[in-house]
Amino acid sequence: MTTTRHAQRWNGVWVAAAIILLLVGAPTTADAYIGPGAGFAVLGSFAVIFVTMILAGVSILAWPFRTVWRMIRHRSKSRPLIKRTIFIGFDGQDARITERMMAEGKLPNYSKLAERGCYRQLRTTFPSITPVAWSSFSTGTNPGRHNIFDFLDRDPRTYLPRLSSAHIGSVEKFLKLGKLRIPLKKPDIRLLRKSKPWWTILGEQNIWSTIIRVPITFPPDQFYGAQLGAMCIPDLLGTQGTFLLFTTRPESQAFQEGGMRIPLNRNGSATSFEASIKGPENAFFEGNPPMELPLTVDVDRSASTARVDINGTEIELKTGELSDWVKLDFKVIPGMKVSGLTRVMLTEADDHVSLYMSPINIEPGKPAMPISHPSYYSSYFEKKIGPYATLGLAEDTWALNEKVTDDGTFWIQTQDVDDEREQMLDIALEKLRSGALVTVFDATDRVNHMYWRYIEDGHPAAAGIDDPAHADAIEKQYIRNDGIIGRVLTKINDDDVLFVLSDHGCTSFRRGVNLNAWLQEEGYLTLKDDADGTEPWLQSVDWSKTRAYAVGLVGIFLNIRGREAHGIVDPGGEADALKTEIMAKLAGLKDAEKGDIAINEAFDTDVLYRGPYKGNAPDLLIGYNHGYRISWDCAGGVVAGAVFEDNVKAWSGDHIVDPRLVPGIMLCNHDVTSDDPHIVDLAPTVLTLFGVRPPAHMDGSPLLNESSLK
């Protein structure tokens, strides 16, 4: 009897302990997109509390020893020439526009900086595009050594394009528990940019670097410093940015690539509508079904407003006004969720109702993927400045191209992202006592791309101009950049070095060139017997009869035997002769309809690049003239259609041209040693400034040295 009562009492204690344990250890928001199962999280929580208490005690006792050890370990091995080096990057800021505006007195802080130190045009990479140029900035090497030749690479086994900068694998091992599949490991996410960034080299010498939004830093580098990733960070759907349009309008034509149209269905009345937001795939269930959130829209047509409810969160919207960031929590399994950020806008509330939702950004507070180093750096900024954009190409150019949003909305999106970035810069600059800091602002590039049609008479896309108020958008952006530099100048000291730079410039994109159509016309590319060339991704191509093809945005590949899956061109003599022949035909290629030269020159990348990865480059790089670029169809692998066509999209400026036509800019508060600097020179420069000898694999030369600093 006593034993039973004793046992019951102990049973009660165990039950109470179990309840307390469950309450204490109950998982809160899971921060794992695909991570260990919920059971592991529950058991792990109690252990974490226990171990944390022990560690806290040990940590207090060991503090004096750790402080001494840290001082010894982090003692710099080099002899820095300066205290801090600060790089402010404005992606795509064009040299010609900058020089004109400086001459007109519109950029007073740029002029002040140029007078104090210097202004130079900055030579860019071949090709002159963001991922390539910033990778050369980071590593001090030409593309043959850092392996980024384009936004896209191609898989020679399938001829399909793929992202050149990051590999995102899928989970293959699961523990099956009924309907549930618990992923046993995280997906393989790898940065494909090779060589070694200068901040890693500085870190090896115990010199700190803060790197904010430098393109091609996803997943982030691991080094002595902090980094917030940038270009090619995907959205929560795993794409490079997919906007959603919830609409009552019948589907007339699917969006080309950037967006998804989702029916908005009536919900019992003429003013209430509902839909489902399809989120990321759920790897915990067979078939990876998408996680979903309910959405309701109640409109007041007379006031042009709507109340939007997303899974219990209510937002009041007025037609044409973009909301603040809205957090979306997708439930993975009980106790685990994955979060994203979006901005919504009611685009119409009349006969039809439509709601725009921006690409769902990875939420930086509890990111579903590795977007910063250390991993908590993204959440540090969220706590400081609130929610912010994390998507690689954060400004929604496709919604504007598809006329889902308008020029005014796009302007707000770009300026808001710039505001977020400037707040990060302020925080990082204030915190940095010694070491290097880079912050890259993206808006200039996006504004150049989307508003070029306003500054060029006769641009084919000028017909789509919806508000003349944006005629000076590009100038306004450059003036804004000048303001940022003015504010930075007030925060730096005499022993700081400041660089302001852009990776390339911009020019007109009036006409698209379908290189695959040209290759077909010239007999280098053959279609399958039953194909008409309209299929995307080169699916119409008969590889057994094709000698050259274009994939990606910058060049042409030969169909090399032994390299491509169905190659027919022998490497060596035959390939060299074919390259020479195509280069000769492309040099000075004329657009007969307009009478203009479309292509200045094609470059042999075997001559252009040096390094172990140059075999991954396109065999030929195309140097388009002002006004020309690869056509939208060709970029999507469509062969059919004319070789030349008008570009009527809002995306009306570009820089995928002969790199000599679109140099970047460089300003410094000291006079540099070169009159003709190249973006590749900046990595050896910053190493030299911190007393670190640039390694032999770097291609550039230092622009500053001890004597030039005096």
Binding site: K194, Q222, G259, W398, A635
Partner: protein, 85 residues
Amino acid sequence: MRRKGKGEGEGKGEDIERELTMFGSTKVKLDASLVERIRKFAEIAGYSSPEEFITHALEKELALLEDAEDEEEIKKRLQGLGYMS
């Protein structure tokens, strides 16, 4: 690259400890003379380190063995890249 275990003079292998970017580290034992050759030619070839040389060599071989990625998955990942239609 950090050396562990037996030295080169003994003609035995060397442990190569490679720091993986995200998921910890792993060690591979290579012949000491091979490590010396890698060290010598990594710089000549333009690699930033012997580890990069080894990684590139292995990735090239693996690419010959691994299956191509799923076509639909590739297309999905490219969706929304502003420069393409």
